[in-house]
């Protein structure tokens, strides 16, 4: 879609563990951790879209929140435009927050219901001192118009709007500060079918107009395919496959990617029955040994997959895949871990 301008965002070895217990006292005795993100690496080029897909509990939302600096990583590095976000002080981070914005899944719970659309969208403009009192309204109206909302919505409360209009307010709020990078967390999941297409078109138009870079998080593969330049598939906190969208959808490599694609229902009654992937995503507190997908994997290689963690390999078509069926040169020579 867009030309390569070098990586805007570069993530390496990103890990996030959450404690299981609530307060510090419980945590003293319960040292179990929810391993939400377990070593994620990827980069996004300026002006492009990376689609991030996976089932619920795969860690895709946590990854988005880590990039937006809404939560601190346990370890790993997030570099944005060459700057390590982890090294920034509060003051510098605020400047960064203007450049990185987020659109949330549920427009009804991510908007303050006691504020009008105008107040919601003007808040980031005021916080970042982007306009004085005179220019505020002009800037506000521009942001609303970019999201396809006319001036008459300024004084409406969220409950007076439809789901699609509320999501447009969420988009206007993100765009109000002229960001470069927008994390879209399931932006159309809560919307009706006829409204989904409107919002997806709007987001693609805005990308063309302002040269935005998107991280597009979703579980709907058809939607992701439609908007993304590259697609990453997550499973239990790890990226199992990442590739150009054409490559990933035409030649999926990881058994999990194949299973996800086979499960997508097609709007055609004559299509062959879908293949069903059995089982559920295991608990991220006790992820399975070896390859975390092996208990559900239809192509498992037995003890190798059970005992040894697969390493990432880059294939000829530039797909990066993490599966023992695609062994890395170094991995084959390593002695298996945990073998008695």
């Amino acid at each position: 879609m867009s030309e390569k301008n070098g990586a805007l965002l570069d993530i390496s070895g990103l890990v996030k563990h959450f404690p299981v217990g609530g307060d510090w006292f419980t945590q003293m005795f319960d040292r179990r951790k929810v391993k939400a993100v377990e070593g994620v690496d990827f980069s996004i080029d300026s002006g492009t879209t990376l689609g991030l897909v996976g089932e619920s509990g795969s860690g895709k939302t946590t990854t988005g929140r880590l990039i937006a600096q809404l939560t601190r990583p346990t370890s790993g590095r997030i570099r944005y435009d060459g700057i390590d976000l982890g090294s920034l002080r509060a003051q510098e981070l605020r400047g960064m927050r203007k450049r990185i914005q987020m659109i949330f899944q549920d427009p009804s719970s991510s908007l303050n219901r006691r504020k009008t659309a105008g107040q919601i969208v003007s808040e980031p403009i005021r916080i970042h001192h982007l306009a004085d009192r005179k220019n505020l309204e002009e800037r506000l109206v521009t942001a609303m118009e970019h999201a396809g909302l006319s001036r008459r919505f300024l004084n409406r409360y969220p409950h007076e709007m439809s789901g699609g209009q509320r999501q447009r307010v969420g988009i206007a709020r993100a765009l109000a500060v002229d960001p470069e990078f927008v994390i879209c967390d399931e932006p159309v999941t809560a919307l009706d079918v006829s409204i989904q297409a409107q919002i997806l078109n709007l987001m693609m138009d805005l990308q063309d107009e302002f040269g935005l870079t998107y991280l597009f998080i979703a579980h709907d593969l058809s939607v992701v395919r439609h908007v993304s330049d590259r697609v990453a598939v997550m499973y239990l906190g790890r990226i199992v496959e990442i590739a150009q969208f054409q490559t990933l959808f035409a030649h999926p490599k990881h058994p999990y990617t194949k299973a996800l694609l086979a499960a997508v229902p097609k709007p055609d009654p004559t299509a062959p029955k879908r293949k069903v992937l059995h089982g559920e995503v295991p608990s991220p507190i006790h992820p399975p040994s070896g390859c975390s997908f092996h208990p559900r994997c239809p192509e498992t290689l037995g003890s190798l997959c059970r005992e040894q963690e697969p390493r990432a390999t880059v294939c000829e078509d530039a797909t990066r895949v993490c599966c023992h069926r695609f062994p890395a040169d170094s991995a084959t020579t390593r002695s298996p871990k945990g073998v008695p």
Binding site: V193, A197, A263, V264, P265, P267, P269, A271, K275
Partner: protein, 327 residues
């Protein structure tokens, strides 16, 4: 020969709210036979859930079934007493609701909750009820059913809760199973598992199924017949094959065109239906879809389009259907 299970005729269900009368269902007719799956498709506010709740006589104040007829196996349900309806609900017609967490009682174990349904509708002994609850959980594919029956709803995953609800719904071998958005909150992989289960149960028990959803792709995979609803009215009704091959109503066409598909060649702009779903209070006369319809002409704004048979077993409510179809 198939048996007609449910027949709804000219059903009108209105809600009398402070802001005005919400015409949630406005003169709809439909039927369901045994061994068939009927899909009712519509966006939020189209009246699909209210249609199902009306059939179960579960409409609560300020809602009211104003007129029409709902017959189950030929017997009128609208004249039955609440006591008689309680026997029918759960035993003859069972429903699975969208939100599995709020349809289960958080303070009772899954086994107890299935047991309650059995206790209400059968005269099994306590022991038999316990055994049957466990075998039902096994039947819907829950591993270690003996142990899982003693779990509480919060200990189940979303997919497992939905399975438990289905187990509860089929516990008394209902003739008709109504599934209201059973997989909306679930991942595609789990959704595929749930429908695989429904498919198995249907061929095993021969029940009729109504699937209420907004997802046309799911319907294509599961249903034989499809009803499309818009703003309280049925706008199109057909067998799945012809409907997807050649949709007649402009709304159905728009819906099918606006779904992103895995087979799309390019990342072009999606077709989108302009405008928003209308407010059901104070709907004007004429076709409810006219304000969003590319084919609308003067008379569409004044004349209510009747649901007419346009071809064998194909119904559409559009004044211009014959002209549009030629294009």
């Amino acid at each position: 020969m198939s048996v007609r299970l449910l027949e709804i005729e000219n059903l009108v269900t209105h809600f009398h709210t402070e802001d005005g009368v919400v015409k949630a269902v406005d003169g709809n007719s439909l039927y369901v036979d045994d061994r068939e799956t009927l899909g009712i498709v519509g966006e939020s506010g189209s009246g699909k859930t209210v249609t199902a709740l009306s059939a179960m006589r579960l409409i609560q104040n300020p809602g009211r079934i104003k007129s029409g007829s709902i017959r189950f196996r030929g017997k009128e349900l609208l004249t039955k007493t609440e006591k008689e309806m309680r026997v029918i609900r759960g035993k003859s017609i069972a429903m699975v609701f969208q939100d599995s967490l709020s349809s289960l009682n958080p303070t009772l174990t899954i086994g107890r909750q299935i047991g309650r349904v059995l206790k209400a509708h059968t005269d099994l002994s306590k022991r038999e009820i316990r055994d049957r609850s466990v075998s039902l959980l096994e039947c819907v594919g829950i591993p270690e059913p003996q142990k899982r029956a003693t779990n509480y709803p919060h200990e189940f995953s979303g997919g497992m809760r939905q399975r438990a609800l289905i187990a509860m719904a089929i516990s008394c071998d209902p003739a008709l199973l109504i599934l209201d958005e059973p997989t909306t909150a679930l991942d595609v992989t789990i959704e595929a598992q749930v429908f695989e289960l429904v498919d198995e149960l249907m061929s095993q028990y021969g029940m009729g199924t109504v699937l209420i959803t907004h997802d046309l792709a799911v319907v294509a995979n599961v249903c034989q017949r499809v009803i499309i609803m818009y703003a309280g009215r049925i706008v199109e009704q057909a067998h799945a094959g012809p409907l997807y091959k050649r949709p007649l109503h402009p709304y159905t066409r728009g819906l099918l065109q606006s779904i992103p598909r895995l087979s799309d060649e390019l990342q072009e702009r999606l077709f989108s239906i302009p405008g928003e779903v209308p407010d059901l209070i104070g709907l004007p006369a004429g076709c409810h879809f006219a304000p969003r319809c590319g084919y609308a002409e003067e008379r569409c704004w004044h004349v209510d389009p009747p649901l007419e048979e346009v071809a064998a077993d194909r119904f559409a409510a559009c004044l211009r259907v014959s002209e549009i179809d030629d294009v």
